[in-house]
Symmetry: C2
Subunit: 289 residues, 2 copies
């Protein structure tokens, strides 16, 4: 896992505009928001999915960087005072605290644009039509019926108790969509999958995306701020519905484990090529941070 | 011009998610931000550029819609309290006033994603590789070395007097980049241009993009809020550098006229195919609103 993380740090440092290029403050904020941080879960998934289709790592790292830039932008905007109003992220002050709100807003906006630029300007798939599909998947994952939509549902549901299906609807959009886009993009860098194999891979991604969020909620409820490097226990304080508030910790853990097994089952038939996807799935569910 | 405006209203109404689709408040805000408003200058330019290459209107309208969604998102974010803190736009309350700040933030984010989705999911160019070029141009125009970057320079320059070259640098990014992308996209929907013709068209777009901003500054300094449907005279109040503060009204008007003539000169050699581009250029410089 460390290999992918180091590789992503290098790729992201290369594709982000240099801090000395004007407008410097904006570029500093974009780099601050993206570099030196994160588990790089989406890139791990993209690389693992690329192993199924024999994708060249030089392609996967750029597709993964696009997804990670999108993820970084979403965190910057989510932390803003009009959203979650968070001051700590990955053990550092959030972007609007370190810089200012206007710079954080623009840095997020520019990171989203850079994500699409990256996916459009390099040759990432065997044919350009497939690359347009990757771009479309990323756009849908980011938009109102993906990440931004999930965030809107999250805002509306603060202070309410959601049912398990309602919670899942929210998270399938808020975090699940981009995780699915990461898996799709990683695989699309290589040989074309049959419709059936593509559907199986997407089923894996859906299960792992949900499991990721369930584990996040459990860790938020359990862990200390020092361990996670972000403000914890705040979901409960903000009255946000979580898997822990819906199920309790023990049943939430069991739910994550069930999703992990569903994810494994979806990979039946891929054989040894999917070993890495299984490992990353296990890492996501069993992580302690 | 009215034909393009009516056509764009219909296309945008169709490609934006319906207001009754969840998350409804977000989708309402996206539609509110985009529909029933604006001069649709960028679509006018895209259609006019498409006439040079014989582009099918069914393609141009979608490329133009992508650019217009991008423009609409930038207005929503620019109006936010941490940016220009504006309450009036196109004669209506701005999105964060009509809805709330969080919804305005997410609506802008989702509009940007939808712009890229639109450009990726429909066949807009003769070959997918050209379409990837259109997407890249849109992404560069939107990003830190385009619109978002120009906005960052704008923020940094509040309260300062900029030189004419500094002002031009800011506006080439803040409004010019997206206008160039609109012209490029409209043309790219049709037959491929030679490198030389492409460069001429881009020169036209650069001149018209700057002229557009000069005229905006003149109108802001001269006109009443009732005529423009947005808060006027506020550039001066906010201490923002403008062409009027740099040159005075008479010289700013003369500068716009010179840019209009440069734009016309760039079209020499295109003949009758560029008639519409000349007309739209004249409209942009001579408009009273």
């Amino acid at each position: 896992m460390g290999g992918v993380q180091a590789r992503m740090e290098a790729v992201l440092a290369r594709v982000l505009p240099a801090a000395h290029v004007a407008p410097t403050r904006l570029h500093e904020a974009m780099r601050y928001a993206t570099l030196e941080g994160g588990k790089r879960v989406r890139p791990l998934l993209a690389f693992a999915a690329g192993e199924i289709t024999g994708a060249a790592p030089e392609r996967v790292e750029l597709a993964a960087a696009a997804v990670e830039l999108m993820h970084a932008y979403s965190l910057v905007h989510d932390d803003l005072p009009c959203m979650d109003n968070d001051v700590l992220r990955r053990g550092k002050p959030t972007v609007h605290v370190e810089f200012d709100q206007a710079t954080a807003l623009l840095a997020g906006d520019a990171l989203q644009a850079l994500a699409f630029q990256l996916m459009a300007e390099h040759r990432l798939a065997d044919d350009p039509a497939t690359q347009l599909e990757m771009l479309k998947a990323l756009a849908v994952a980011a938009g109102s019926r993906g990440m931004a939509g999930g965030q809107a549902v999250d805002l509306e549901s603060t202070g309410k108790q959601l049912s398990l299906p309602e919670l899942e609807f929210m998270h399938i959009h808020k975090t699940g969509a981009l995780i699915r886009a990461a898996v799709f993009a990683g695989a699309a860098c290589g040989a074309r999958l049959s419709a059936e194999s593509g559907a199986k891979l997407d089923r894996y991604a859906k299960c792992i995306g949900l499991a990721f969020q369930v584990v996040d909620d459990v860790l938020d409820a359990e862990a200390s701020t020092a361990t996670l490097g972000k403000t914890t226990g705040k979901d409960a304080k903000q009255g946000k519905p979580t898997y822990v508030s819906a199920l309790g910790i023990a049943r939430a853990r069991a739910h994550a484990e069930a999703l992990r097994q569903d994810a494994h089952a979806a990979l039946d038939g891929f054989g040894e090529g999917a070993r890495r996807l299984r490992e990353v799935g296990d890492f996501i569910v069993r992580r302690k941070f």
